[in-house]
Amino acid sequence: MLREAPVSTRIPAFLKSNEKEILQDWLKEQTGAATFRADLLKEKDLREESHTFLGALQTAAQGNSIDDFGGEGWSGVKDFLSDLSRSRAQAGFTPSETATFVFSLKQPLFSMLRREMKGDAEGLVKEMWGTSVLLDKLGLFTTEAYQATREDVISRQKDELLELSTPVVELWDDVLAVPLVGTLDSARTQIVMESLLEKIVSTGASIAIIDITGVPTVDTLVAQHLLKTVAATRLMGADCIISGIRPQIAQTIVHLGVNLGEVITKATLADAFRVALQRTGWKIEKKAEERG
């Protein structure tokens, strides 16, 4: 049965004896392919990488079965491939361009096998199958590593976005403001709540204004999150005003039957600020116009 891939015992030896030709063929294959990115990769670097990979592959294939791909013996090749995928993902290669690095090795290896095993059809098929399985596994591994790198980037950006979008600013003595931008989910509410409460403790503020001008939609869940933040602020001993409620959002809130209860709501941040000044006992006066 071909399905149970036998250990291709002769591959390491062939790799060793034919190293130069394979490298030559492989480089030609890679640079000639439509997916070759001359703008992102220098030929010299590619030669370096290809050479290192062949060496690592040969070492790994020497004493380790392909069936044992998860084992210790293949870690050298895999580490090299992860590094390669990572650097290529960051440089802007597509996943197929990255995987082509491994898959383009098939052609040179197959022609080498054909050359070496002339006359032994049975053995040739066997070796080709083994090689094919091995390269497929390595190719898939590159794609996986590529994807892992992209996911890292995405999760890091997500974290950065969370931090960026929830500043707590001091508007006046005793008055804080939280300008919310973007959708409000539970994770963000938690962060907004925490940073607001910490700021209340550190500044001793007695009024907090939550401005939702930048929140695109308010559904029942978002409203609930807002109410939770207001309740927590009140427990700390500070009052909370929600401002920046746009006409459409006011309509949505009523249509949804959300009860904002005792919470003070204002249409604009300016209105909320006026109330806050009143409560803290401040008064702003306009200077009398100078008369010429």
Partner: protein, 122 residues
């Protein structure tokens, strides 16, 4: 037996919780406080929980209960110095302590109690 001290300050009572609040302690405090309010005829109670950094639903309900009982005995309750984590926990537990007055620290809490008392007398 371990007890939480209740200090008298003019017309107000001051309770500072500085140990881990376990259930029996909370029940004892409830008894002591109601007895003290009716004995001293206090008009306000200030509970400082700034040293409390863990609450459960029982303690949360206890604080709400104490304040409701004080109100029945004609005393206002102010809870001061709540930690952010405690506030978040209480909200998540669905115990926003409706009807309990809150203040950021003892100073502000005292000012609030005096203001309330003036309002009632006026």
């Amino acid at each position: 037996m371990e007890r939480i001290p209740i200090l008298k300050m003019g017309p107000f009572l001051l309770v500072t919780i500085q140990v881990d609040m376990h259930d029996q302690l909370a029940l004892t405090l409830q008894d002591d406080l109601t007895a003290k309010i009716s004995k001293e005829r206090s008009r306000g109670v200030l509970i400082d929980i700034s040293a409390l950094d863990v609450v459960d639903s029982f303690i949360g309900r206890m604080i709400a209960n104490i304040s409701a009982m004080a109100r029945v005995l004609d005393a206002q309750t102010v809870v001061v110095g709540m930690q952010p984590s405690v506030a978040i926990t209480l909200v998540e537990l669905g115990l926003p302590l409706e009807g309990v007055h809150t203040a950021l620290n003892v100073e502000k809490g005292m000012a609030l109690l005096h203001r309330r008392l003036d309002e009632v007398r006026a």
